[in-house]
Point group: none
Chain length 252, copies 2
Protein backbone atom coordinates (compact mmCIF):
# COMPACT_ATOMS: atom_id res chain seq x y z
CA UNK A 1 0.00 0.00 0.00
CA UNK A 2 2.55 2.50 1.06
CA UNK A 3 5.34 1.11 -1.05
CA UNK A 4 3.12 0.92 -4.11
CA UNK A 5 1.76 4.37 -3.62
CA UNK A 6 5.24 5.81 -3.37
CA UNK A 7 6.26 4.01 -6.54
CA UNK A 8 3.20 5.36 -8.32
CA UNK A 9 4.05 8.85 -7.22
CA UNK A 10 7.58 8.46 -8.48
CA UNK A 11 6.35 7.20 -11.83
CA UNK A 12 3.85 10.00 -12.13
CA UNK A 13 6.54 12.53 -11.42
CA UNK A 14 8.90 11.00 -13.92
CA UNK A 15 6.18 11.22 -16.53
CA UNK A 16 4.92 14.67 -15.77
CA UNK A 17 8.12 16.23 -14.57
CA UNK A 18 6.39 18.25 -11.92
CA UNK A 19 3.29 17.97 -9.81
CA UNK A 20 1.63 20.10 -7.18
CA UNK A 21 0.31 18.63 -4.01
CA UNK A 22 -3.20 19.41 -5.10
CA UNK A 23 -2.69 17.46 -8.31
CA UNK A 24 -1.26 14.57 -6.35
CA UNK A 25 -4.21 14.76 -4.00
CA UNK A 26 -6.43 14.38 -7.02
CA UNK A 27 -4.64 11.20 -8.01
CA UNK A 28 -4.84 9.70 -4.53
CA UNK A 29 -8.20 10.64 -3.06
CA UNK A 30 -8.09 7.99 -0.34
CA UNK A 31 -5.15 9.38 1.54
CA UNK A 32 -4.58 12.70 3.16
CA UNK A 33 -2.24 15.39 1.96
CA UNK A 34 -0.08 14.75 4.97
CA UNK A 35 0.52 11.19 3.88
CA UNK A 36 1.44 12.36 0.42
CA UNK A 37 3.82 14.85 1.94
CA UNK A 38 5.44 12.11 3.90
CA UNK A 39 5.74 10.02 0.76
CA UNK A 40 7.38 12.90 -1.05
CA UNK A 41 9.73 13.33 1.85
CA UNK A 42 10.81 9.73 1.55
CA UNK A 43 11.32 9.99 -2.17
CA UNK A 44 13.40 13.07 -1.59
CA UNK A 45 15.54 11.15 0.87
CA UNK A 46 16.12 8.58 -1.81
CA UNK A 47 17.23 11.29 -4.16
CA UNK A 48 14.57 10.50 -6.69
CA UNK A 49 12.67 13.74 -6.51
CA UNK A 50 13.13 17.29 -5.40
CA UNK A 51 10.49 18.87 -3.28
CA UNK A 52 9.66 22.38 -4.37
CA UNK A 53 7.20 24.81 -2.97
CA UNK A 54 3.75 23.54 -3.75
CA UNK A 55 4.78 20.04 -4.72
CA UNK A 56 7.69 18.16 -6.16
CA UNK A 57 9.55 17.51 -9.36
CA UNK A 58 11.34 14.56 -10.82
CA UNK A 59 15.10 14.53 -10.68
CA UNK A 60 15.17 12.93 -14.08
CA UNK A 61 13.30 15.89 -15.47
CA UNK A 62 15.94 18.25 -14.17
CA UNK A 63 18.72 16.11 -15.48
CA UNK A 64 17.27 16.35 -18.96
CA UNK A 65 17.94 20.05 -19.13
CA UNK A 66 21.22 20.25 -20.93
CA UNK A 67 24.08 22.64 -20.40
CA UNK A 68 27.16 20.84 -19.20
CA UNK A 69 30.22 20.39 -21.35
CA UNK A 70 29.76 16.67 -21.34
CA UNK A 71 26.06 16.66 -22.06
CA UNK A 72 26.54 19.10 -24.87
CA UNK A 73 28.09 16.38 -26.91
CA UNK A 74 25.31 14.02 -26.11
CA UNK A 75 22.69 16.06 -27.91
CA UNK A 76 24.10 15.23 -31.31
CA UNK A 77 22.51 12.21 -32.93
CA UNK A 78 20.97 11.30 -29.63
CA UNK A 79 18.16 9.20 -31.00
CA UNK A 80 20.43 7.01 -33.08
CA UNK A 81 22.76 6.51 -30.18
CA UNK A 82 19.97 5.53 -27.84
CA UNK A 83 18.69 3.00 -30.34
CA UNK A 84 22.16 1.57 -30.74
CA UNK A 85 22.55 1.46 -26.99
CA UNK A 86 19.26 -0.38 -26.61
CA UNK A 87 20.32 -2.98 -29.12
CA UNK A 88 23.63 -3.41 -27.34
CA UNK A 89 21.97 -3.67 -23.95
CA UNK A 90 19.78 -6.48 -25.18
CA UNK A 91 22.89 -8.49 -26.02
CA UNK A 92 24.25 -8.54 -22.50
CA UNK A 93 23.75 -11.72 -20.54
CA UNK A 94 23.39 -11.99 -16.80
CA UNK A 95 26.42 -13.06 -14.78
CA UNK A 96 28.92 -12.07 -17.40
CA UNK A 97 31.87 -9.74 -17.21
CA UNK A 98 32.20 -7.10 -19.85
CA UNK A 99 34.08 -4.01 -20.81
CA UNK A 100 32.43 -0.78 -21.89
CA UNK A 101 34.33 2.24 -23.13
CA UNK A 102 33.83 5.81 -22.02
CA UNK A 103 32.22 7.44 -25.01
CA UNK A 104 28.83 9.04 -25.27
CA UNK A 105 27.25 6.03 -26.90
CA UNK A 106 28.60 3.94 -24.05
CA UNK A 107 26.96 6.39 -21.69
CA UNK A 108 23.61 5.64 -23.21
CA UNK A 109 24.37 1.96 -23.00
CA UNK A 110 25.00 2.38 -19.29
CA UNK A 111 21.63 4.06 -18.92
CA UNK A 112 19.82 1.39 -20.88
CA UNK A 113 21.50 -1.52 -19.19
CA UNK A 114 19.13 -3.57 -17.03
CA UNK A 115 19.91 -3.77 -13.36
CA UNK A 116 21.19 -7.30 -13.30
CA UNK A 117 24.16 -9.15 -11.92
CA UNK A 118 27.04 -8.36 -14.24
CA UNK A 119 30.56 -7.14 -13.74
CA UNK A 120 31.38 -4.15 -15.85
CA UNK A 121 34.81 -2.65 -16.48
CA UNK A 122 34.93 0.81 -17.95
CA UNK A 123 37.26 3.70 -18.53
CA UNK A 124 34.44 6.25 -18.57
CA UNK A 125 33.86 8.31 -15.44
CA UNK A 126 30.30 9.16 -16.34
CA UNK A 127 29.64 5.58 -17.36
CA UNK A 128 30.94 4.33 -14.03
CA UNK A 129 28.76 6.74 -12.08
CA UNK A 130 25.71 5.86 -14.10
CA UNK A 131 26.26 2.15 -13.58
CA UNK A 132 26.96 2.62 -9.88
CA UNK A 133 23.32 3.62 -9.49
CA UNK A 134 22.26 0.11 -10.28
CA UNK A 135 22.16 -2.16 -7.27
CA UNK A 136 23.21 -5.38 -8.92
CA UNK A 137 25.84 -4.17 -11.31
CA UNK A 138 29.44 -4.45 -10.15
CA UNK A 139 31.55 -1.68 -11.58
CA UNK A 140 35.29 -1.44 -11.91
CA UNK A 141 36.88 1.73 -13.08
CA UNK A 142 39.99 1.54 -15.21
CA UNK A 143 42.27 4.25 -13.96
CA UNK A 144 44.48 6.61 -15.81
CA UNK A 145 44.83 10.16 -16.95
CA UNK A 146 41.45 11.84 -17.29
CA UNK A 147 40.71 13.27 -20.69
CA UNK A 148 38.68 16.38 -20.15
CA UNK A 149 36.81 16.32 -23.41
CA UNK A 150 35.07 13.00 -22.95
CA UNK A 151 35.60 12.25 -19.27
CA UNK A 152 37.28 8.95 -19.85
CA UNK A 153 40.63 7.69 -18.75
CA UNK A 154 43.58 6.20 -20.51
CA UNK A 155 47.01 5.31 -19.38
CA UNK A 156 49.83 2.90 -20.10
CA UNK A 157 49.51 1.68 -16.55
CA UNK A 158 46.06 0.34 -17.37
CA UNK A 159 47.86 -2.67 -18.75
CA UNK A 160 48.31 -4.01 -15.26
CA UNK A 161 44.58 -3.86 -14.77
CA UNK A 162 44.01 -6.08 -17.71
CA UNK A 163 46.67 -8.60 -16.94
CA UNK A 164 44.58 -10.72 -14.63
CA UNK A 165 41.24 -9.94 -16.15
CA UNK A 166 39.22 -11.56 -18.86
CA UNK A 167 36.00 -10.30 -20.34
CA UNK A 168 33.25 -12.32 -21.81
CA UNK A 169 32.52 -9.36 -23.95
CA UNK A 170 33.75 -5.90 -24.80
CA UNK A 171 31.34 -3.33 -26.18
CA UNK A 172 33.14 -0.31 -27.49
CA UNK A 173 32.34 2.56 -29.76
CA UNK A 174 34.34 4.40 -32.33
CA UNK A 175 34.57 8.02 -33.38
CA UNK A 176 35.70 7.23 -36.88
CA UNK A 177 35.50 4.43 -39.41
CA UNK A 178 36.45 3.66 -42.96
CA UNK A 179 36.76 0.18 -44.49
CA UNK A 180 40.42 0.78 -45.30
CA UNK A 181 41.60 2.30 -42.03
CA UNK A 182 39.19 0.48 -39.78
CA UNK A 183 38.09 1.97 -36.46
CA UNK A 184 40.23 4.85 -35.28
CA UNK A 185 40.37 7.41 -32.50
CA UNK A 186 42.18 10.61 -31.63
CA UNK A 187 44.39 9.47 -28.81
CA UNK A 188 47.27 7.09 -28.81
CA UNK A 189 46.78 5.77 -25.32
CA UNK A 190 43.07 5.39 -25.86
CA UNK A 191 43.82 3.31 -28.92
CA UNK A 192 46.18 1.20 -26.83
CA UNK A 193 43.52 0.63 -24.26
CA UNK A 194 40.95 -0.39 -26.82
CA UNK A 195 43.40 -2.74 -28.50
CA UNK A 196 43.94 -4.38 -25.17
CA UNK A 197 40.25 -5.02 -24.78
CA UNK A 198 40.35 -6.89 -28.06
CA UNK A 199 43.07 -9.13 -26.69
CA UNK A 200 41.27 -9.81 -23.44
CA UNK A 201 37.68 -10.15 -24.53
CA UNK A 202 36.17 -13.31 -25.94
CA UNK A 203 33.90 -11.25 -28.17
CA UNK A 204 34.10 -7.67 -29.34
CA UNK A 205 30.98 -5.72 -30.22
CA UNK A 206 31.39 -2.37 -31.88
CA UNK A 207 28.82 0.40 -31.62
CA UNK A 208 29.00 2.77 -34.54
CA UNK A 209 26.48 5.38 -35.45
CA UNK A 210 26.42 6.01 -39.15
CA UNK A 211 27.58 9.64 -38.86
CA UNK A 212 31.05 8.31 -38.08
CA UNK A 213 31.45 6.55 -41.38
CA UNK A 214 34.06 7.98 -43.71
CA UNK A 215 35.97 9.72 -40.93
CA UNK A 216 39.56 8.95 -40.13
CA UNK A 217 41.37 9.59 -36.86
CA UNK A 218 45.11 9.21 -36.26
CA UNK A 219 45.14 5.93 -34.39
CA UNK A 220 43.49 2.78 -35.61
CA UNK A 221 42.55 0.41 -32.82
CA UNK A 222 40.61 -2.23 -34.73
CA UNK A 223 40.20 -3.46 -38.27
CA UNK A 224 36.97 -4.72 -39.74
CA UNK A 225 37.84 -8.35 -39.13
CA UNK A 226 38.71 -7.75 -35.48
CA UNK A 227 35.13 -7.35 -34.39
CA UNK A 228 32.42 -9.92 -33.92
CA UNK A 229 29.29 -7.82 -34.08
CA UNK A 230 28.60 -4.35 -35.41
CA UNK A 231 25.75 -2.48 -33.79
CA UNK A 232 24.55 0.47 -35.78
CA UNK A 233 21.49 2.51 -36.74
CA UNK A 234 19.05 2.40 -39.63
CA UNK A 235 21.02 4.81 -41.76
CA UNK A 236 23.88 2.40 -42.10
CA UNK A 237 24.62 2.14 -45.84
CA UNK A 238 23.89 -1.12 -47.58
CA UNK A 239 27.27 -1.27 -49.29
CA UNK A 240 28.93 -1.16 -45.88
CA UNK A 241 26.80 -3.99 -44.71
CA UNK A 242 28.14 -6.20 -47.47
CA UNK A 243 31.70 -5.39 -46.44
CA UNK A 244 31.02 -6.72 -42.98
CA UNK A 245 28.88 -9.57 -44.23
CA UNK A 246 31.74 -10.79 -46.42
CA UNK A 247 33.82 -11.29 -43.30
CA UNK A 248 30.97 -13.01 -41.49
CA UNK A 249 30.44 -10.17 -39.09
CA UNK A 250 26.93 -9.73 -37.80
CA UNK A 251 25.49 -6.29 -38.43
CA UNK A 252 22.47 -5.28 -36.42
Amino acid sequence: MKRERIEEIAELLDKRGKLTLEQLDGFFPNVSQMTLRRDLFQLEQQGRIIRVRGGAMSVKEVQKVSGEPYTKKTTIHTDEKIKIAQKAASLIDENCSLFIDGGTTAMYLAKEMPDMNVHVFTNGLAVAIELAQKKNVHVTMIGGQVMKDNLSTASPVARSYFENTNFELAIISSTAFTPEYGFSCASQIEADLLKMTRAKAKSLYMMLDSSKIGKIMPYTFAKVEDIDVLITDDNFPAEMKTIFAQKNIVVM
Copy 2:
Protein backbone atom coordinates in the same frame (compact mmCIF):
# COMPACT_ATOMS: atom_id res chain seq x y z
CA MET B 1 25.17 45.42 -9.37
CA LYS B 2 22.10 43.39 -10.08
CA ARG B 3 23.65 41.38 -12.88
CA GLU B 4 26.77 40.75 -10.86
CA ARG B 5 24.86 39.80 -7.77
CA ILE B 6 22.80 37.32 -9.73
CA GLU B 7 25.95 35.82 -11.19
CA GLU B 8 27.44 35.55 -7.76
CA ILE B 9 24.37 33.82 -6.48
CA ALA B 10 24.51 31.36 -9.36
CA GLU B 11 28.16 30.63 -8.68
CA LEU B 12 27.56 30.18 -5.00
CA LEU B 13 24.78 27.77 -5.72
CA ASP B 14 26.89 25.82 -8.16
CA LYS B 15 29.55 25.46 -5.54
CA ARG B 16 27.38 24.63 -2.59
CA GLY B 17 24.61 22.83 -4.35
CA LYS B 18 21.96 24.28 -2.13
CA LEU B 19 21.44 27.42 -0.13
CA THR B 20 18.74 28.72 2.13
CA LEU B 21 17.55 32.26 1.90
CA GLU B 22 19.04 32.96 5.27
CA GLN B 23 22.43 31.81 4.10
CA LEU B 24 22.12 33.94 1.00
CA ASP B 25 21.11 36.86 3.16
CA GLY B 26 24.31 36.30 5.08
CA PHE B 27 26.32 36.58 1.88
CA PHE B 28 24.56 39.71 0.71
CA PRO B 29 23.91 41.86 3.76
CA ASN B 30 23.28 45.02 1.78
CA VAL B 31 20.17 43.84 0.01
CA SER B 32 16.86 42.65 1.34
CA GLN B 33 15.53 39.15 1.24
CA MET B 34 12.92 40.26 -1.23
CA THR B 35 15.59 41.29 -3.69
CA LEU B 36 17.30 37.97 -3.31
CA ARG B 37 13.99 36.25 -3.87
CA ARG B 38 13.55 38.18 -7.06
CA ASP B 39 17.05 37.24 -8.14
CA LEU B 40 16.31 33.60 -7.49
CA PHE B 41 13.13 33.94 -9.47
CA GLN B 42 15.08 35.23 -12.46
CA LEU B 43 17.64 32.48 -12.20
CA GLU B 44 14.81 30.01 -12.09
CA GLN B 45 13.36 31.52 -15.24
CA GLN B 46 16.70 30.99 -16.92
CA GLY B 47 16.64 27.38 -15.87
CA ARG B 48 19.85 27.64 -13.93
CA ILE B 49 18.45 26.93 -10.50
CA ILE B 50 15.45 25.33 -8.87
CA ARG B 51 13.72 27.16 -6.11
CA VAL B 52 12.86 24.94 -3.19
CA ARG B 53 11.19 25.76 0.04
CA GLY B 54 13.59 27.80 2.07
CA GLY B 55 15.96 28.64 -0.73
CA ALA B 56 17.21 27.24 -3.99
CA MET B 57 19.48 24.64 -5.45
CA SER B 58 21.75 24.50 -8.44
CA VAL B 59 20.54 22.67 -11.49
CA LYS B 60 24.08 21.55 -12.21
CA GLU B 61 24.16 19.93 -8.84
CA VAL B 62 21.08 17.92 -9.63
CA GLN B 63 22.32 17.00 -13.08
CA LYS B 64 25.43 15.56 -11.59
CA VAL B 65 24.58 11.96 -11.07
CA SER B 66 25.75 11.12 -7.64
CA GLY B 67 25.37 8.26 -5.29
CA GLU B 68 23.84 9.91 -2.32
CA PRO B 69 20.57 11.75 -2.06
CA TYR B 70 20.96 15.45 -2.66
CA THR B 71 19.30 16.40 0.55
CA LYS B 72 21.62 14.43 2.74
CA LYS B 73 24.67 15.55 0.89
CA THR B 74 23.77 19.16 1.06
CA THR B 75 22.54 19.37 4.60
CA ILE B 76 24.95 17.44 6.76
CA HIS B 77 27.69 19.63 8.11
CA THR B 78 28.06 21.34 4.78
CA ASP B 79 29.32 24.61 6.13
CA GLU B 80 32.06 23.02 8.17
CA LYS B 81 33.16 20.90 5.26
CA ILE B 82 33.32 23.85 2.93
CA LYS B 83 35.38 25.82 5.39
CA ILE B 84 37.74 22.90 5.78
CA ALA B 85 37.93 22.54 2.03
CA GLN B 86 38.74 26.22 1.62
CA LYS B 87 41.54 25.97 4.13
CA ALA B 88 42.90 22.92 2.36
CA ALA B 89 42.66 24.57 -1.04
CA SER B 90 44.72 27.50 0.19
CA LEU B 91 47.53 25.11 1.04
CA ILE B 92 47.98 23.80 -2.47
CA ASP B 93 50.90 25.18 -4.42
CA GLU B 94 51.04 25.57 -8.16
CA ASN B 95 52.97 22.99 -10.15
CA CYS B 96 52.75 20.32 -7.51
CA SER B 97 51.38 16.82 -7.68
CA LEU B 98 48.95 15.76 -5.05
CA PHE B 99 46.53 13.05 -4.07
CA ILE B 100 42.94 13.70 -3.02
CA ASP B 101 40.60 11.02 -1.76
CA GLY B 102 37.03 10.45 -2.86
CA GLY B 103 34.97 11.57 0.12
CA THR B 104 32.44 14.38 0.31
CA THR B 105 34.88 16.75 1.96
CA ALA B 106 37.30 16.02 -0.87
CA MET B 107 34.49 16.85 -3.24
CA TYR B 108 34.21 20.29 -1.76
CA LEU B 109 37.95 20.64 -1.96
CA ALA B 110 37.73 19.87 -5.66
CA LYS B 111 35.16 22.61 -6.06
CA GLU B 112 37.19 25.13 -4.12
CA MET B 113 40.47 24.36 -5.79
CA PRO B 114 41.75 27.20 -7.95
CA ASP B 115 42.16 26.47 -11.63
CA MET B 116 45.92 26.27 -11.68
CA ASN B 117 48.56 23.99 -13.04
CA VAL B 118 48.65 21.03 -10.68
CA HIS B 119 48.52 17.31 -11.15
CA VAL B 120 45.89 15.64 -9.05
CA PHE B 121 45.47 11.94 -8.39
CA THR B 122 42.19 10.81 -6.92
CA ASN B 123 40.11 7.74 -6.32
CA GLY B 124 36.85 9.68 -6.32
CA LEU B 125 34.72 9.58 -9.45
CA ALA B 126 32.85 12.74 -8.59
CA VAL B 127 36.06 14.45 -7.57
CA ALA B 128 37.66 13.56 -10.87
CA ILE B 129 34.74 14.90 -12.86
CA GLU B 130 34.65 18.10 -10.87
CA LEU B 131 38.37 18.66 -11.37
CA ALA B 132 38.15 17.82 -15.05
CA GLN B 133 36.08 20.97 -15.50
CA LYS B 134 39.13 23.05 -14.69
CA LYS B 135 41.30 23.80 -17.67
CA ASN B 136 44.68 23.77 -16.03
CA VAL B 137 44.29 20.90 -13.62
CA HIS B 138 45.63 17.55 -14.76
CA VAL B 139 43.62 14.72 -13.31
CA THR B 140 44.51 11.08 -12.95
CA MET B 141 41.95 8.62 -11.76
CA ILE B 142 43.03 5.74 -9.60
CA GLY B 143 41.12 2.76 -10.85
CA GLY B 144 39.51 -0.05 -8.98
CA GLN B 145 36.21 -1.45 -7.89
CA VAL B 146 33.62 1.29 -7.57
CA MET B 147 32.00 1.61 -4.17
CA LYS B 148 28.43 2.60 -4.75
CA ASP B 149 27.90 4.46 -1.52
CA ASN B 150 30.55 7.10 -1.98
CA LEU B 151 31.46 6.78 -5.64
CA SER B 152 35.09 6.16 -5.03
CA THR B 153 37.30 3.33 -6.10
CA ALA B 154 39.57 0.97 -4.28
CA SER B 155 41.45 -2.06 -5.36
CA PRO B 156 44.57 -4.02 -4.59
CA VAL B 157 45.69 -3.38 -8.16
CA ALA B 158 45.95 0.29 -7.37
CA ARG B 159 49.34 -0.51 -5.94
CA SER B 160 50.76 -0.60 -9.42
CA TYR B 161 49.52 2.91 -9.96
CA PHE B 162 51.45 4.15 -7.04
CA GLU B 163 54.64 2.34 -7.78
CA ASN B 164 56.07 4.92 -10.09
CA THR B 165 54.33 7.89 -8.62
CA ASN B 166 55.28 10.34 -5.93
CA PHE B 167 53.13 13.06 -4.50
CA GLU B 168 54.24 16.30 -3.07
CA LEU B 169 51.20 16.13 -0.93
CA ALA B 170 48.23 13.95 -0.08
CA ILE B 171 45.07 15.53 1.27
CA ILE B 172 42.69 12.94 2.58
CA SER B 173 39.70 12.90 4.86
CA SER B 174 38.52 10.48 7.46
CA THR B 175 35.11 9.23 8.51
CA ALA B 176 36.20 8.41 12.03
CA PHE B 177 38.81 9.43 14.55
CA THR B 178 39.81 8.79 18.12
CA PRO B 179 43.22 9.49 19.64
CA GLU B 180 43.70 5.82 20.49
CA TYR B 181 42.59 4.26 17.24
CA GLY B 182 43.63 7.06 14.95
CA PHE B 183 41.91 7.65 11.62
CA SER B 184 39.78 4.77 10.47
CA CYS B 185 37.40 3.87 7.69
CA ALA B 186 34.86 1.20 6.83
CA SER B 187 36.59 -0.64 4.04
CA GLN B 188 39.74 -2.69 4.08
CA ILE B 189 40.87 -1.89 0.59
CA GLU B 190 40.14 1.77 1.06
CA ALA B 191 42.33 1.71 4.14
CA ASP B 192 45.05 0.03 2.10
CA LEU B 193 44.84 2.72 -0.52
CA LEU B 194 45.06 5.50 2.01
CA LYS B 195 48.00 3.88 3.73
CA MET B 196 49.75 3.79 0.40
CA THR B 197 49.29 7.50 -0.03
CA ARG B 198 51.11 7.98 3.25
CA ALA B 199 54.05 6.03 1.91
CA LYS B 200 54.19 7.89 -1.36
CA ALA B 201 53.46 11.46 -0.30
CA LYS B 202 56.03 13.81 1.10
CA SER B 203 53.39 15.41 3.30
CA LEU B 204 50.02 14.18 4.47
CA TYR B 205 47.25 16.60 5.32
CA MET B 206 44.14 15.25 6.98
CA MET B 207 40.74 16.91 6.70
CA LEU B 208 38.53 16.08 9.63
CA ASP B 209 35.29 17.75 10.52
CA SER B 210 34.68 17.65 14.21
CA SER B 211 31.56 15.52 13.94
CA LYS B 212 33.81 12.57 13.17
CA ILE B 213 35.61 12.71 16.48
CA GLY B 214 34.97 9.83 18.82
CA LYS B 215 33.86 7.49 16.08
CA ILE B 216 35.63 4.26 15.29
CA MET B 217 35.55 2.31 12.05
CA PRO B 218 37.01 -1.16 11.51
CA TYR B 219 40.17 -0.25 9.63
CA THR B 220 42.71 2.24 10.84
CA PHE B 221 44.73 3.79 8.04
CA ALA B 222 46.69 6.43 9.93
CA LYS B 223 47.72 7.21 13.47
CA VAL B 224 47.99 10.68 14.89
CA GLU B 225 51.72 10.88 14.29
CA ASP B 226 51.41 9.84 10.66
CA ILE B 227 50.00 13.14 9.53
CA ASP B 228 51.66 16.47 9.05
CA VAL B 229 48.75 18.86 9.16
CA LEU B 230 45.23 18.52 10.49
CA ILE B 231 42.62 20.69 8.83
CA THR B 232 39.45 20.99 10.84
CA ASP B 233 36.63 23.35 11.80
CA ASP B 234 36.01 25.73 14.66
CA ASN B 235 34.27 23.16 16.80
CA PHE B 236 37.40 21.13 17.16
CA PRO B 237 37.85 20.52 20.90
CA ALA B 238 40.77 22.20 22.65
CA GLU B 239 41.89 19.00 24.38
CA MET B 240 42.25 17.36 20.99
CA LYS B 241 44.36 20.22 19.80
CA THR B 242 46.87 19.59 22.54
CA ILE B 243 47.11 15.95 21.56
CA PHE B 244 48.18 16.97 18.09
CA ALA B 245 50.29 19.84 19.30
CA GLN B 246 52.28 17.48 21.52
CA LYS B 247 53.35 15.61 18.43
CA ASN B 248 54.20 18.81 16.59
CA ILE B 249 51.33 18.47 14.19
CA VAL B 250 49.89 21.68 12.86
CA VAL B 251 46.17 22.07 13.49
CA MET B 252 44.33 24.64 11.44
